[in-house]
Amino acid sequence: MSPLCRAGEHLSRRAFLKGAAVTGGGLVLPNWGGLAHARSAAEAATKAKKRCILLWMNGGASQIDTFDMKPGRPTGGPFRPIQTKVTGLQVCEYLPKVAAVADKLAVIRSMKTHSPDHPDGIYHMHTCYKMSERTPHPELGAVIAKFNGDLGSDLPTFVRMGSCGNAGAGYLGPAHEPFSLGREGKLGAFTSPYLAADAEMKRAELFRFVEGEFAADHKAEPFDSHRTAKERAWRLLRAKAVFDISKEWPAARERYGDTDFGRGCLMARKLVEAGVPFVEVGHENYDSHADNFVCHKANMQHLDLAWPALLTDLADRGLLQDTLVVWMGEVGRTPQINNRAGRDHYIRAWTIVLSGGGIRGGQVYGATDADGKDVRDNPVSEGDLFATIYKALGINHRAKHLSGVRPVWLTPEGSQPITELLG
């Protein structure tokens, strides 16, 4: 067999992933619908190490309109601050429930980052590396999936909903690629079988046989990825019930808010409880170059229900101490209000909030100047943030991998965890 790849084996990762979803349709394991999945999910949960939920504010939330308010300043805008139970921490008047759980939050007001636009910012804030680097760095979720996940679980180890990261598993390979749900936490249509169980079983067996024959002659990564995705899809179907929140939702709807983001947060809670080590929930509508204040007001009314409900639920179930909840987006927003009543992208001084597992809550780290235009104290880079997150989750932030033959590290050289934030 030739050591060289055949031309036809040079499939793009994107093409492969697209194909995997289609090919996976209708392939269902024989024990579909049985209770075996419940046992495997519970086992996965007991084995799980620390978990992480990333609440991703897609487009970039305004720090001045949420956690770093500047009342009375030209940059302040129309929102007014309310006091929390944490000294020195005021939050927007439209986040009263967030204010009530402020003792769980560690607010970093001094993010100073390097990628000002959406694709590069999304990549950078998911990988802690610049998009322009040639190395395909893995997202936070893929790293946590690798180090804290159980590949033997029927459940995926890296789940995301809505608009989220754009880097995937990078050099960690296809086993750690994200599994995407719909914005409201729905499973893809491919998880619904369209054949009777016995027919599905015969079909799956036949498919595996053909795949096995094909694999003997096709060793390229895209094909391996394809097979891996299919296997994961089959296993996932055994645990499909974990993705059904219809029983919990009526009781949770009021607390989480009857929104896509609210359902996503409940789903995230259920998934980490079942042993999924990383779940990302996207919250849209923050890219408010125009009408920033009405956009943020509408968003905060969703955020203020779902996020505190998630933290409270995790705490009540004894999960918060082992579940890190990160609130961030790809950029902050300008202190200056433009003539579209908007705020544009801003990376010189913005805010991220951590809470839960490994984090000492009830504190503000760093500070900006009077108008919020620059960091005054304790600037935090992407690398420092990720080093802190990894440290909180028990992962060595300087763990080394190989991308091809090139050594790469989880965080850039010089990145340091912020010890003040760690519990």
């Binding site: 608009s163 896509d260 509508n285 009405v294 968003n299």
Partner: protein, 363 residues
């Protein structure tokens, strides 16, 4: 009769502390009031005839602590109403005496900006000083718990319809501030108008989300007596957030303007039949912000985010005149609001750039 085809910009009343967001003539007097994004309200006394230097403000009405969203005055000019993001509507006695004085520099922001850019050759303008009497006394209507975004006064000046971002629409009387009717719409109140007979209210509603399934926009005509929907025009204006609405004085025409950052189409509606009518051209590019009927009942003015005010004939939808030009480029400041003088010969426009434009139509 003023010739509405011949507008002349006679004064630009500079006040650049922040965006000027609301404007209203005070009854049939020569006075005009304007509110800004910080909650300030200034009152000017305009000269009888065009010409000369722009007048300086006389009074500052001190009370609001957040953006003034709308201003309206009773026809007798005695009571000025101001709605605000501070959740209140204030009622000002226009004859109240000032209890103090304050010195203002009306172009302080322009001076500060130029000072910052001095090294790049920016020329610092001379200050425009003014001394204003400060009025602190006002009555407060506190029937809202959210940003009061819309305010409409009945033709007789006795009844107010106000709406907020919590979706609450409240009908109340000026004299006693008693609530006669209150109802809630599905979204936030974005546009509000009361028919001349006070039997119908037009409410444009929205939840300004872009991608989320919770986004919402609607336009409904409500029976004021019952608080029930008379006509739901949401399907006809599908997905459109209406930012402005106004009934003609005879109640036969309703004009609505699409707001937000959108194609600011103005559309005529038959409020009696509940039917969508003609869409007017040209649009206010980037969104309409305000509508105001001329006292003759045959014309109305519209304002938008394109920095232009237009005067229209309501029977035909024909454009009569255009006040100002787009300032060039994209999104160059909005004209937030417009108000006609009682004689219909003057129009004041609230300019986001930090000024009140005063236009005159010669007779």
């Amino acid at each position: 009769m003023p010739d509405l085809t011949k507008p002349t910009l006679v004064w630009t009343l500079t006040w650049d502390a922040d965006w000027v967001t609301a404007v209203a003539f005070l009854g049939s007097s020569r006075r005009v009031a304007a509110g800004n994004n910080l909650g300030g309200v200034l009152v000017w006394d305009l000269p009888e005839k065009p010409g000369g230097d722009p007048p300086k403000p006389l009074l500052k009405l001190d009370g609001h602590t957040n953006c003034v969203s709308k201003l309206a005055c009773t026809p007798d000019g005695k009571t000025l109403l101001s709605s605000s993001y501070d959740h209140s509507v204030r009622l000002w006695d226009t004859a109240a005496r000032a209890t103090g004085e304050e010195k203002l520099v009306l172009n302080a922001t322009a001076i500060a900006d130029a000072e910052r850019r001095k090294s790049n050759g920016a020329k610092v303008p001379p200050p425009i000083p003014a001394t204003v009497g400060v009025v602190k006394t006002s009555q407060v209507f506190d029937g809202h718990k959210e940003w009061v975004t819309a305010l409409e006064l009945s033709r007789d000046g006795k009844t107010v319809l106000s709406g907020d971002d919590g979706g609450h629409v409240v009908l109340w009387d000026v004299a006693g501030k008693r609530v006669a009717k209150r109802w809630q719409v599905k979204g936030w109140v974005a546009a509000l108008a009361l028919s001349p007979d006070q039997k119908q209210a037009c409410v444009g509603e929205r939840v300004p989300l872009v991608f989320d399934s919770g986004r919402h926009a609607g336009l409904k005509l409500w029976n004021v007596a019952t608080g029930e929907v008379a006509f739901d025009l949401s399907a006809e204006f599908k997905g459109q957030h209406l930012g402005a609405a106004a009934y003609s004085p005879d109640g036969k025409v309703l004009v609505v303007g699409r707001g937000g950052e959108s194609e600011g189409t103005l559309t005529l509606v038959d409020p009696v039949a509940g039917k969508k009518g003609k869409a007017l051209a040209p649009i206010h590019q980037y969104g309409a912000t305000d509508l105001a009927f001329h006292p003759d009942g045959k014309h109305f003015a519209s304002a938008g985010r394109d920095t232009v005010v237009r005067v229209w004939e309501d029977a035909t939808g024909k454009l009569v005149s255009e006040l100002g030009k787009p300032r060039g480029g994209q999104f160059k400041d909005w004209v937030h609001a417009v108000s006609w003088s009682a004689d219909g010969a003057w129009l004041a426009a609230a300019d986001m750039a930090g000024a009140v434009q005063v236009w005159h139509f010669a007779g």
